[in-house]
Every structure is written in C-alpha cells, then in structure tokens.
C-alpha cells in the first residue's frame, strides 16, 4: 500500500503513519483519510531532524482541537515508543545518509508495527469507573457514581415531543442579526438589488427593492441537575434536550450532580435512544449528591466564555436544594446571570401548591435569575414546553417568591 506521493523509500513511513492515524482514530480523534495524506506531505516537507520536530509536525496535521492534544501525546508516546523506529524512519528520509542496508526484513518491520499498534488499543485512557449503588434522595454533597438506563420512547411519543418543541417559543427567543434579507415590506433600501432591477429596464426607471434585518433563534444553553432529588425527571430532560438540539442549531447541554459534564456532542446523534444511551454512558454521576455551586463554578470558568456568546438563553433545571449554602453559590449565580442574556430557572418543586422559597439554596439563587418558572407537574414534555413558552407571568418574577415568606 505504498502511496504514489510518498517520498523515496517512504513505503514504511506511509504505512506507519497510516497505522498511527488508525490508532488515533481508535483513541477518539476525528482523523480522516485526507489527514494521512496531509501528514505524509508535511513530514516530507519538514524533513524532520529530531523526534520533537516529528512530533510537532504530526501534531500540526492531526490535532484540530486543544482537548485532543493530550490524547495525541499519549498515542504518540505509545506508538512511536520504540526509539529505533523513529530514528530509522528519519535516517530513511535523510538525503545525506540514505539509511544504509536494511538490517531487518520487511516482516520484522510489520511485526513491530503490529506490536506498537496493539498497545494503544488497550491503552486509551479510560477514567476509572467506580460504580456504587445508593439511591439517596436526600441532599448531599457526596459523590455517587452511577450508571443509568432509560426506558425507550415509543415512536408516537417521539413524534409528539417533536411537535411540542416545534411549537414552543422561549421568551426573548429571537435575536435580530446584522444581516439583511430581501423583504418587500422592509424599510431599508437594498442598493444592490435595486440597481440590478433598474438595469433590466435600461436604467430609465428606478425600481426600489427593500430589505430588513434577519432574525434568528438565540443559542440555548441548558444546565440540568441530575442529582438524586431530580431523578424522576432525568429522562424527560434528556429527551427534551435531544429534541431541542435536533430542532435548532445551537444548543449546548450540560448535566451536573457533583460534576459538570458536557453532553452536547452525545445528544447530536440522530436517534434519540442512541443519543440517550451515549449521554448516559458519558455521565458518571447519575443521581449523586448535589453540588450546585461547584458545578456552576466549573461552568463559568471553563465553558461560559465558549458557549454564552451571541445572546444565549440559559435554562437552569434544578430544585435548588443545595446542602451547604456558601457565598460561592451567590457569587457564581451572579456571574452566570451577568454573562448571559436571560437566565430562566425551572424548578419542579413548584408542583407543590404550598411551595414557599424557604430552602436556603433557593433563597440564595433566586435574586440572580431573570425568571423563575413555576410548573405544577413536570410529568410530561407538554407541561415542560408550556412552562417555557410565552411571556413571563406574574408568578415568574423571582421577587414575588422572595417576598412571600
């Protein structure tokens, strides 16, 4: 499988790079066949002299995200571990010292590659999964790591959910962009189209064309509490997030109990059951304790600047039952509110008619949300969509709940 564009004597190199690319793919890097050709061209261009140069040359081609650097580093170390392999390849490529007679037969080389390849297969760093079953419904900051299986949704249910989401209108959902679209009832003149139209008639009469600013949906960022006390809603939330991610383009989903996990990519899978299975595999702290402040801190520090741009709406699904209420919680809530356009808190505790904002966590968080959406039953997607639609009612003002008790 020697490549026509590979350098002289580069058959081995081409093979090795292809194998290396395959190892990277297995470790989870999106490496396409095009990248292998690029890597060959790059290695040829760089005329590598040292191991470090070789490393950074391949890095430049294969790594497209900062997070992947670590994976690449490990894969590189394991794959090219046999020092002789790199040095030989370098010697082969060097125009000055053309390698000398090959000491080993091709089979030996292939064997080495096979060995090198076998290691990363077992190696991809898997976080140690501690599985511990403890159905605690109390609020605690103990970290409970737990896997979760969801009952699947029927086709009729899915169709219904999609319809509901399509009808749902989040408050303050539309953002006016600075782009323009042709609009016969627009108020601004579109010079380019006006001119082209006028020219059609020889330029004698000017036929004005109008345009107006384009409108798009605001990005949605969902922060979902999946701790023990919220367990009965997890499935609903995940289906909601999947459906909304399919309907709109920019939806970022995060779940947290004791740690924050970004599941946007997992939810992007077309099939809802597959998406949910992938997401639940990714998340390790189903129905654990709650550490809201900690999760918000993580979000603010690592994600807010990356996902809250362009006027994002934040949907916060949590009951607000934090065991220890510290200043950190108010601080992080405040920061979150100040970095997004609208912060909407949906609290299922409001299903109890006599709900009052008594819990310290709720009282600490309330002043920092734009809207506090009451919901009387959170058993169905319909209720959820209805709660999120429409203009804020009198009940949704956070002040009203603070004053009540």
């Amino acid at each position: 499988m020697s490549n026509p564009s590979a350098p002289r004597g580069g058959g081995r190199l081409a093979d090795n790079i292809a194998y290396f690319a395959r190892a990277l793919r297995q470790a989870g890097l999106p490496v396409g066949p095009g990248a292998v050709l690029d890597a060959l061209a790059a290695v040829e261009a760089a005329r590598i002299g040292t191991r470090e140069d070789f490393y950074w040359t391949l890095h430049a081609v294969f790594v497209k995200r900062h997070e992947h650097s670590i994976l690449f580093d490990q894969a590189f170390r394991i794959f090219w571990r046999r020092r002789a392999l790199i040095e030989k390849l370098i010697a082969q490529m060097s125009p000055i010292a053309p390698g000398g007679p090959e000491e080993k037969k091709p089979q030996a080389g292939a064997l080495r590659v096979a060995e090198a390849l076998a290691t990363p297969r077992q190696e991809p760093p898997k976080p140690v999964e501690t599985t511990e079953f403890s159905a605690r419904l109390t609020v605690s900051d103990r970290e409970v790591l737990k896997a979760k299986d969801f009952a699947q949704m029927s086709a009729a249910e899915i169709a219904r959910a999609k319809r509901l989401i399509a009808e749902m209108a989040l408050p303050h959902d539309e953002v006016t962009t600075r782009r323009f679209l042709p609009d016969p009832r627009g108020r601004r003149i579109d010079p380019r189209r006006t001119f082209r139209r006028s020219l059609r008639g020889g330029g004698a009469a000017i036929d004005l064309a109008y345009r107006s600013a384009a409108v798009r949906h605001a990005p949605v960022v969902a922060l979902v509490d999946i701790s023990g006390s919220m367990a009965e809603y997890s499935r609903l939330f995940l289906h909601f997030l999947h459906a909304i991610a399919e309907k709109r383009r920019r939806v970022h989903s995060f779940v947290f109990a004791t740690r924050l996990t970004n599941i946007s990519r997992e939810l992007a899978s077309r099939d809802p059951d597959e998406a949910l299975a992938r997401a639940s595999k990714r998340v390790q702290d189903w129905e654990g304790g709650t550490r809201i402040a900690h999760a918000l801190h993580d979000f603010n520090r690592h994600w807010s600047r990356r996902v809250l741009g362009q006027g994002a709406i934040v949907l916060l699904f949590t009951d607000g039952l934090e065991r220890e209420v510290t200043r950190e919680l108010t601080f992080e809530m405040d920061r979150l509110k100040r970095s997004c356009r609208r912060l909407i808190w949906l609290n299922p505790l409001l299903r109890f008619d006599a709900f009052e904002a008594r819990a310290a966590g709720i009282r600490a968080m309330l002043p920092h949300v734009d809207e506090f959406r009451p919901i009387h039953s959170l058993a169905s997607m319909e209720q959820l969509c209805r709660a999120l639609s429409g203009e804020p009612s009198r009940l949704s003002a956070p002040r009203q709940w603070l004053g009540a008790s």
Binding site: P30, G32, G34, A35, D38, A41, A42, A45, A46, R47, G49, E52, D53, W56, T57, H59, A60, V61, V63, K64, R65, H66, S69, T177, R178, R179, F180, P191, R192, F195, L199, G202, G203, A204, R249, N300, R301, R305, R306, V307, G309, Q310, F331
Partner: protein, 304 residues
Amino acid sequence: MADRPGSIDETLSLLQGAGYVADRPLATVLFLALKLGRPLFLEGEAGVGKTEIAKVLAAALGRRLIRLQCYEGLDVASAVYEWNYAGQMMAIRLAEASGAVDRDALESDLFSERYLVKRPLLQALESDIAGAPVLLIDELDRTDEAFEAFLLEVLSDFQITIPELGTIKAEHPPIVVITSNRTREIHDALKRRCLYHWVDYPDAEREIAILRSRVPNVPERLSQEIVAFVQAIRKEDLFKAPGVAETLDWASALVELDAVALDPALVSDTLGVLLKYQDDIQKMQGSRAKEMLDRIRESLRTAE
C-alpha cells in the same frame, strides 16, 4: 523581500530577527504552513500573541499585511467586495446624456473592475510586487457560522466567485493566518483545511526573553521578578489569567514609575494593569500579593 524559510531552524531565526520569541512547536507549524501553503489556525487565550505572529511574519518576509477584523454580522459586502453603486448610476446617466445607449456595452462596462470596491479578502488574492500578501483573519469566533461557510471556498481554493464577473483566482495564494479566542467552537470543516496550533502561555525562560526583546529598558532584576510573579499568578485560580500582552504592559508601567524592584504596595497599586476582573484583583490584593512576592524573592535568591 525575504525568501520563505527553508527549515524549522530558519523559521525560528526569522521570527527571532523580527522580535518574536517563538518556541519550537510554533516554528514547526509555521514552517509547515508556509511550505505546504496551508492556512494556519491559531487558537489560545487572549493576549498570548496570536495576532502578533501574523504581523511579525509580514514584516519579516517583507509582505503586505491585510487584516480582516471579524465581528458579528460581517457580510460579503464588507469582507469581500461591493459594487460602487453611485459610480454605476452616474455612468448610466452619462451614457443617457450622450445619447448613445448600447445596452450590452453599458452592462459589461458597469460590472467591470472599475466599479468594484475591493475588500480585504479580495485584496488578498491580488498579486503584489512584494509577493503574496499575509492575510490575517482576526478573531474568527466573533462572526457567525454563515461567514465561516463562505470562507471555505476562499481557504481551500484561494478563489472567490463574483456572479457578475466570474471566478477570481489568486496567482500566488496568500499566507493565511486565522486567530480565535475560542468564545465558540469553529466548525470542523473549516479547521480541517488548516494547520491547527494552540498558542499557550510561555514558560518563564521564554517570557523573560520576550520581555527583553519587547521592553528593553527594564532592569534585569525587575524583569526577573515580574516574570516570576506573573508565572506564579497564572497558577492561581483566576477567572482570566494575564497574557503576555499584560506582562509587557505591566513592565512598561513599572518602568514609567521608576521601579527597580517589586514591593507589595507597588503591586497592589498596579494590579489593574495585569488583571482585568474585579474579583481577581480582590483575591490577589494585600497579604496574598506579599506572600507571593516573598516566595519569589526567596527562590530568586537561592537561584543566584
């Protein structure tokens, strides 16, 4: 006009000569971008010198620098080209006044280069006496996806299609540098066409070298203390760690204040140059700064 560097070492010394202290990974990726004619995609925190790389590259190679600053709503009319409508209207009136209106001739005349207003991307495709220009697409994460999609054609084939004129292709492709602060993820399709590099904060040794090269009038002792302090502060749990740009600003500020060494009061007073968030400043002020300063002094003394 300087030639393109022939090796990684030459790239390093080229940057060094222009006053940019690069590390070897950066030099490698830059060399590859030049050699393979691929766009270079630089990502990293604000103030680590991403934009500077393009500027220095243009200066060192003696090429023209064309800068496209991105913002939300950036459209084709302000990034690529626009027709000079007023000029075209005038041409029509003049043709009418002279009496002879040949429609075909008029139309081909109206949509010619004469009435084309060229914006940065189109300018970058033009040939230049000094060689292909350096095209800097700055802070790409600030635009929306629509513009990104448009860039795909420009970056893979170095050509632009203008419906009225046809396709304009660059004779010599420009050297493209794209920067992003990662306020959102850039689409994979665009990244695939580029060589990617994450520009990180420099280590202490390199930061001292940068400081020496950029602010030469800082006393040796002070520059060591400044760099040690900044390096220590980056390890703290801050919302926004200071970048190299802040280090340089701070050094200039301290020189203006005629400082020869850091002291806690001076640090507290000038912390606003280094940190830009009130809670970060609060965290670092007072005893915390003094504590850090003492530790730095200690380690500098033992190093001597």
